[in-house]
Amino acid sequence: MTSLTTKYIEIQGVEQTFKTRKGPFRALQNINLTVARGEFVALIGHSGCGKSTLLNLIAGLTTPTEGSLLCANREIAGPGPERAVVFQNHSLLPWLTCFENVYLAVERVFSETETKAQLKARTDAALAMVGLSAAAQKRPGEISGGMKQRVGIARALSMEPKVLLLDEPFGALDALTRAKLQDELLQIVATTQSTVVMVTHDVDEAVLLSDRIVMMTNGPSATIGEVLKVELPRPRSRVALAEDIRYLGYRKAVIDFLYTRQGHVEKAA
């Protein structure tokens, strides 16, 4: 295969320093990571370890102090619809209906090549994919947190992004809703063959969803501590995996990293 399929996203020697009142603060250093096309990668680590910073770098919302980021062999110079982000707090515009929120994204990406009817069909399809056709004409204030997050996912997917970036997308949801959306995300990713980078602090979520888990050391100057390849067959079922020895092994490995090797720094901080 070509290098493009194995190195779809390429992060080389990235360092991120923020200027603060107390002087420069180095959040990330020496980050090297490649993500293959169609791969699902989870970034996990304690809060403040810079996993969201890294995601923002891939999104192009911030630029690195050192190093380079490539997506499909092109330098990531700024944010763009080919790298869609699902934000933790859904970030829907409250004055637009669910339909209009998704349409805003669809219109931006496809309005030059497609007719209005096609744009509407795309929007409807995206909402149908997350099971929200019935709520299309509701405003975000009228639907539940889980539904809002689904609209956020629909908005991101409707742009047919090259890469889907998820920033703790289910962090604010209750356990049952979270599980349901994780299952839906598994299905959607299987259908669309998306390349996904997801920030999470949930060990089960990371093991259930990803092909690789990137575990980050504690900040400041956080870096990648370990990368765990999750070789569980797909499609994956939450219920079947619950007693799977391999699943439990992966889970143990992540917990071990987070709480045994990286746990003590939290106390010092």
Partner: protein, 323 residues
């Protein structure tokens, strides 16, 4: 007048939002969404939102006399107290302040023919109110046309904000009437000078509130705009304008309130037709009953303006922004 923003229905916004988030983390969604809903329907600051519980009570007990009583009795008592104090003042001053009854009779007579016109100095109260409102509308309208875009620019670009903040801080505390001579000098006429005074006094709240609104647009929305790579036009129409609208309407409301305060004083000085001039004219005639009537008319018109703008503001405040 930046602090005035906090009087808006948005008051609960940041507190409610952050409170909601921490609750969601601590206790799961069920209690948090309940609290969320509770805040949504009952924000303590919005008069419109206080109304919903009333129909619920009425539905349970079809004829709940005590609720009705509580809604009607206290305002009536308040008005009664005013009439009583007024009557006492009437008796205490030996009749130089007219009694409520005589004033009411006079009011009935005046309002039976509000739109007569006997020359420029003797017109019905309706014409006076209308020409005052016309001046306010013109001055205020021009202030909105200038002030709201300026507010947007100041809010969007911190360079402009730093450039104009000293100017605004310097000019805003100046009494609007201090601008009247400048207006008379430049425009060489009483009417444009009065409009100019309204313009200068109502522009500040609109600039400041719009600018604060733009500065407080949640970063999340701007991130959405950046990820979608929206054009500046789409950012303004789909994100900035709707997000700023409630703040802007607060500015508009404050501006109209100030303008209505100022027009009376300005008209007293400039003359012509107008409610302020009418008050001064009746003072020269020593017709105290008409002065008192004018005070009530000014109060009621101000109340109606305020109420209409509050209604407008609540209609354009969306739940997420409200909370």
């Amino acid at each position: 007048m930046v602090s005035a923003v906090f009087h808006s229905p948005l008051e609960a916004a940041p507190a409610a939002r952050s409170g909601d988030k921490t609750k969601a983390r601590d206790a799961g969604p069920a209690p948090s969404s309940a609290a969320h809903k509770d805040m949504m329907t009952n924000p303590p600051t919005t008069p419109a939102a206080v109304q919903p519980p009333a129909p619920v009570v009425a539905a349970r007990a079809p004829w709940d006399a005590s609720a009705l009583w509580l809604a009607v009795l206290p305002p009536l008592l308040g008005l009664g107290l005013l009439a009583l104090v007024w009557e006492l003042v009437f008796m205490g001053t030996g009749g130089s302040i007219p009694s409520p009854r005589d004033t009411f009779a006079q009011a009935v007579q005046i309002f039976s023919d509000p739109f007569y016109s006997k020359g420029p100095n003797d017109q019905g109260v309706g014409w006076n109110v209308l020409s005052s409102l016309k001046r306010v509308a013109m001055g205020f309208g021009m202030a909105a046309v200038v002030g709201i875009p300026v507010g947007f620019m100041i809010g969007r670009f911190s360079f402009l904000s730093r450039m104009f903040n000293p100017l605004i801080s310097l000019l805003r505390p100046v009494s609007p009437l201090a601008w009247l001579p400048i207006g008379l000098l430049v425009f060489k006429g009483a009417n444009p000078a009065a409009i100019w005074t309204i313009f200068i006094c109502s522009i500040w709240p609109m600039i400041i509130n719009t600018a604060v609104g733009v500065q407080r647009v949640p970063q999340d929305y701007m991130n959405v705009a950046r990820v979608l790579n929206l054009s500046e036009w789409k950012i303004v129409t789909k994100i900035l304008f709707p997000a700023v609208l409630p703040y802007m309407l607060t500015g508009v409301r404050l501006a109209v309130g100030t303008a209505w305060l100022v027009i009376v004083a300005a008209e007293m000085l400039t003359g012509g037709v107008g409610i302020g001039f009418w008050v001064w004219d009746e003072w020269n005639n020593l017709n105290v009953k008409n002065i008192i009537i004018a005070i009530f008319v000014i109060g009621i018109v101000g109340l109606v303006l305020e109420f209409a703008l509050i209604k407008l503001a609540t209609a354009f405040t969306f739940e997420e922004v409200k909370n």
